[in-house]
């Protein structure tokens, strides 16, 4: 059974179409890359999946819970790392984590141990007492990733999480999230960078608000390198 199911999702900003009949499903333990050029509709899709926006048409089901009829359960099963940092720079890493935990209704009992475990998982344990404002970009991202896992979600959504990171930090985050998928988490990773996608990943290509391709990356790209395939298809249709 799929952990994330999207069916018939459409959205418009006034007269401008942002998404048109988007449907896909991501099974458990899958790393799915959502690849699309700028303006493809990725941010709109992320806003709809996180209920920052509500679509008049279509259905989103997270871990078996319909986002429209059971938003609390559905959002409770979702971990999110937004493209734009969502950290309070004046608070410590631990304070940021505790704030998030409360927003998700996690009990205070055992919370410190839970935060320690989440930070340790991302090799951030020694940063717990530091102010977030003092961390570098890579550490901030890892902290956001640790935070997104704090409530043990079944689906992890990352919206262009490597924006602004250097090559080493990018590679590290990409590898860590692939490991999480191997451990059973369903991951939707949005990006416009083809080098973040592995051949064995599930690939969704979004272009002009529609799903252009859906399959295993090596099968989608065929004999072409992914970057060439992506450019050829998105420019040809543009």
């Amino acid at each position: 059974m799929a952990e994330l199911e999207v069916s018939g999702l459409s959205y418009r900003y006034g007269a401008k179409r942002a998404l048109e009949e988007v449907s896909f499903a991501i099974p458990r333990g899958t790393f799915c890359a959502l690849l699309g050029p700028n303006g493809a509709g990725k941010s709109t899709l992320v806003s709809l999946l996180t209920r920052l926006l509500v679509a008049p048409e279509g259905r989103i089901v997270l871990a078996g819970h319909d986002l429209r009829s059971a938003p609390r359960r559905a959002l409770g099963a979702l971990g999110v790392v937004f493209q734009q940092p969502t950290l309070d720079l004046s608070l410590t890493v631990r304070q940021n984590m505790a704030y998030f935990a409360a927003l998700h209704g996690l009990p205070r009992k055992g919370l410190a141990a839970r935060i320690d475990a989440a930070l340790a998982r991302l090799s951030m344990a020694e940063r717990a007492g530091e102010k977030v404002g003092a961390l570098n970009g890579g550490h901030r991202r890892r902290m956001e990733l640790a935070r997104a896992l704090l409530h043990e979600p079944r689906v992890l959504l990352l919206d262009e999480p490597t924006v602004g990171l250097d090559a080493a930090a990018r590679a590290s985050i990409v590898a860590q999230v692939h490991d999480l998928a191997d451990e059973g988490l369903s991951v939707l990773w949005t990006t416009h960078l083809t080098d973040e996608v592995r051949d064995s990943d599930r690939l969704l290509v979004l272009h002009q608000g529609r799903i252009l391709a859906d399959g295993i990356t090596r099968e989608v790209r065929g004999a072409q390198p992914l970057a060439e395939w992506f450019l050829a298809h998105t420019e040809a249709v543009a």
């Binding site: 920052l52 609390r72 969502t86 704030y99 409360a102």
Partner: protein
């Protein structure tokens, strides 16, 4: 239920921590009404004669008259400050964290509002303490009695801030709020002069001032500080607080057009 209270505690604690980290905000909130009390009132007291009006039983100094208005001014500026920080949160992205919590959005906004209000109330007490140092004091129990008036007034002005924050697209637009909301609300009210004085110069301005929710907040505080309840002001403050609260929840509804433009 404990999870709901946990959310409230966390949001309020965050507001408080931010407040503690912004000492200049506290100082500004304290200095602003003190300037009015010490400088403005000194120049204005000679120009403005006050008759005996409820809740006062005798002639009072002009400084005594404007203290409740300045308490409300602290609440008003803090409500707007809270609105400003919401717009800042939205620009910085941390608003998304709040709005993607599984808890009902109305509850999240209420917790934010309550946290901001309690901080405003703390600042009002700091102002009242400083005013006492300048010799402007309330009746002894007035310091206690004013608390149940400050909370609904603070909630009302904070809810106004929430509504405004949903309409303001960018921080740069905040100057407009100063010109079109804060100043008219403050000057078209009973904060600085009794409404009967206003009526002498313009009936229309008097009527606008009498309908201004800020006037009701000021009068609620003024009467409470003198151990009386102004039922009319109390009623209107509650009505405005509820109406603005509902409007804020509507404006922050993910299905509404107001949110759509923010992506």
């Amino acid at each position: 239920m404990s999870a709901y209270l946990g959310v409230m505690r966390a949001i309020m604690a965050r507001e408080f921590l931010r407040f503690v980290h912004q000492r200049e905000r506290f100082l500004a909130a304290l200095v602003r009404p003190l300037v009015w009390l010490v400088v403005f009132a000194a120049g204005f007291r000679a120009a403005l004669g006050l008759s005996i009006i409820p809740p006062y039983q005798t002639y009072i100094t002009y400084e005594t008259y404007i203290v409740p208005g300045l308490c409300a001014m602290v609440l008003l500026f803090n409500g707007m400050q809270s609105s400003l920080s919401l717009v800042y949160d939205r620009e910085m992205g941390s608003m998304r964290l709040l709005l993607t919590s599984p808890f009902p959005r109305g509850w999240l906004l209420f917790c934010r509002l309550l946290g901001a209000t309690l901080i405003s109330v703390l600042q009002v007490y700091a102002f009242l303490g400083a005013a006492a140092l300048f010799g402007v004091v309330l009746p002894g129990w007035g310091y206690v009695a004013v608390l149940p008036a400050l909370i609904p007034a603070g909630l009302m002005l904070g809810a106004l801030g929430l509504v405004l924050s949903s309409f303001i697209k960018q921080l740069e637009n905040f100057a407009g709020v100063m010109n079109f909301v804060i100043f008219p609300m403050f000057f078209l009210s009973s904060a600085l002069y009794p409404l009967w004085r206003m009526a002498e110069s313009s009936r229309l301005l008097h009527d606008i001032s009498a309908a201004n929710p800020f006037t009701h907040a000021v009068e609620l505080i003024r009467f409470a500080a003198h151990l009386q309840l102004n039922w009319g002001a109390f009623f209107w403050v509650l009505v405005w607080a509820a109406a603005l609260g509902v409007l804020a929840i509507w404006a922050y509804d993910p299905g509404r057009a107001l949110m759509r433009r923010k992506g």
